[in-house]
Structures are given as structure tokens and as C-alpha cells.
């Protein structure tokens, strides 16, 4: 969790925070990407970010929900 606090920029912290509690639905993630990055979560830039977060093991999709892991 200390990692979450230290991450920059703020938008990245918001994405990862969304994966806590019960996780984020795809719709919620879409809304977040629109608000923070002005793009859809399916855009090439967002897909690249999500792929990197998944490779790090921080954020992944379990078939219904996006979840954060630290």
C-alpha cells in the first residue's frame, strides 16, 4: 500500500484505487479513463497502460471485475 501512496501521477493512483474495495467494473474503468486521460479504456494508450500494470501484477481483470493487488 505504501507503493500506491508514492505513485505518480495522481491519475495512476486513481486507477489503482478503483481496483480496491469490490473492484472496478469495465464501465467504471471507462469512466475513469475518460475523466483522467480523456480516452476510452480500450484505446491503444489505455490498453498499453493496463497491460503494463498487469505485467507488474498490480491490476488485472478476473473476467468480471478489475482488481488491484499490492
Amino acid at each position: 500500500m505504501g507503493l500506491l501512496v508514492s505513485l505518480e501521477p495522481h491519475s495512476l493512483r486513481r486507477i489503482l484505487k478503483a481496483g480496491l474495495r469490490g473492484g472496478a467494473t469495465s464501465d467504471q474503468l471507462d469512466q475513469l479513463f475518460e475523466q483522467e486521460f480523456s480516452c476510452a479504456s480500450t484505446s491503444p494508450e489505455a490498453t498499453e497502460l493496463l497491460s503494463q500494470l498487469s505485467e507488474l501484477g498490480w491490476f488485472d481483470y478476473d473476467g468480471s471485475i478489475w482488481k488491484t493487488h499490492f
Binding site: M1, L4, V5, R13, K17, L20, R21, G22, H69
Partner: protein, 229 residues
């Protein structure tokens, strides 16, 4: 006392104490948070109904997820650690299982994995501080963390204010220091000192100034969490 269903998680694994307020003593067979975090026990088996009689009469329920007071279990969990996200999952599983209205997470005073998780997942964060230089410094750090984690509602509570301190001056000092007006200022009370955590002060001292301040704080939290901005 308003008929709500509440669970309390004692996540101060190094020095648990909430069970004392409810007069709960874990029996040998009782499962605790430690058993969930380290021994794979289901969280619903690690919570205990501690509803006081007046609360039950008001159709409310209180469950406690206590942490172990045994030194070897405390040492084990501090030494071995655990996946803190499991605590996150436990809380939300329990919300569904017990149909909870509120979850109260008590944390260790200070910054650690549990306090950071609690901060990140809370709808409202209540920071309790004493009117003491050490607490001013510590609170400043905690506020910075809370702001970085976008806590929706942050409430400062000044506790144990001696009666030689001017309440309005303290309120102003806190506001000047942190840019937050304290939501509550609780007096240092010899009645509470005499109670010595021997029960829940709001039930043991119902007419007390301290109790009224806590009830006012609860009303503010209820109103704000029920109608998020």
C-alpha cells in the same frame, strides 16, 4: 442505537484493544482476524456478535472482528506479514454476508499497511488527535497521505482536551495548521478516565458532554456517508 448493522475491524494487530470495550474475551476455540489472515479461516467465522443490550433493544447489531492478544500470534503476524488486500476482500465479503450498514476500521495510530489500506478504501476517515505537539506533526503526515489517496470525507477529532484549554482557540489552531476545521472536540473527562475502557462510554455515560459530542460526530458521518457529494 438507530437500528443499524455495524461491523468493527480491529486492524491494530500489534496492539489490539477494541475487544476490551465490548467485554469480549476470546475463548480457545474462537477464531480471530489473525486466523483469517494467516490460517485461511473464512472471515465470517472470525467475527463475533458483541451487540450491547441497549443496541439490541434498538434493533441494531454490532459485530467485532477482533485481533489476537496472544504475544506469539502477534509476533508471528508481525514477523511473517500477510497480503493486505485480503483484509480488503474480507471487509467487503462481510458487508454482503451480514448485510452491513457500516464498517468501522480501527487502525494502529500512525502509518502502516493497514492504515494505508483503510485510508484508501474508506468513505470517511476520522483522524483522532490530542492537542499535543507530537500529534500535530503526526496528523500532518496522515492528512497528506489521505489527500494523496482521495479520501472522500476527512474528519479531524481533537480528543482529551483539558478544561484549561480554550476550545475555540484549539479549533482555530487546528484549522490554521491543517486547513480542516475539527468536526468534534472531545473533552478530557475524569468520568471516562474512571471508566478506564470498562465499557462503551456512550452507553455508560449517556448524559455526558463527551457522549453528546460523539453522537453529533456520528450524525455528521451518517449524513455525509449517506449522501456523498
Amino acid at each position: 442505537m438507530q437500528g443499524q448493522r455495524v461491523a468493527i475491524f480491529d486492524t491494530d494487530l500489534a496492539s489490539p484493544g477494541i475487544h476490551v470495550l465490548f467485554g469480549f474475551t476470546a475463548g480457545e476455540q474462537d477464531l480471530l482476524i489473525n486466523d483469517f489472515l494467516q490460517n485461511g479461516k473464512p472471515i465470517k467465522s472470525c467475527v463475533h456478535d458483541v451487540t450491547p443490550s441497549p443496541v439490541k433493544a434498538a434493533k441494531g447489531r454490532v459485530w467485532l472482528a477482533p485481533a489476537s492478544m496472544e504475544s506469539d500470534k502477534i509476533a508471528k503476524i508481525l514477523r511473517e506479514g500477510y497480503e493486505v488486500e485480503r483484509l480488503n476482500d474480507a471487509i467487503f465479503d462481510l458487508v454482503e454476508h451480514l448485510k452491513l450498514d457500516y464498517v468501522v476500521i480501527d487502525t494502529h495510530p500512525g502509518i502502516n499497511e493497514e492504515t494505508l489500506l483503510s485510508t484508501a478504501i474508506s468513505d470517511a476517515l476520522v483522524m483522532v488527535m490530542r492537542p499535543d505537539s507530537q500529534d500535530y506533526l503526526g496528523t500532518a503526515v496522515a492528512i497528506e497521505v489521505a489527500e494523496r489517496l482521495d479520501v472522500p470525507q476527512l474528519h479531524l477529532v481533537v480528543n482529551k482536551l483539558p478544561d484549561c484549554f480554550e476550545s475555540e482557540s484549539v479549533k482555530q489552531k487546528v484549522k490554521d495548521s491543517f486547513n480542516y476545521t475539527p468536526t468534534a472536540i472531545l473533552p478530557l473527562s475524569s468520568d471516562l478516565l474512571n471508566l478506564a475502557s470498562g465499557g462503551l462510554a456512550v452507553l455508560e455515560c449517556p448524559g455526558h458532554e463527551w457522549t453528546q459530542s460523539v453522537k453529533d460526530l456520528a450524525s455528521v458521518l451518517h449524513a455525509q456517508v449517506s449522501s456523498p457529494q
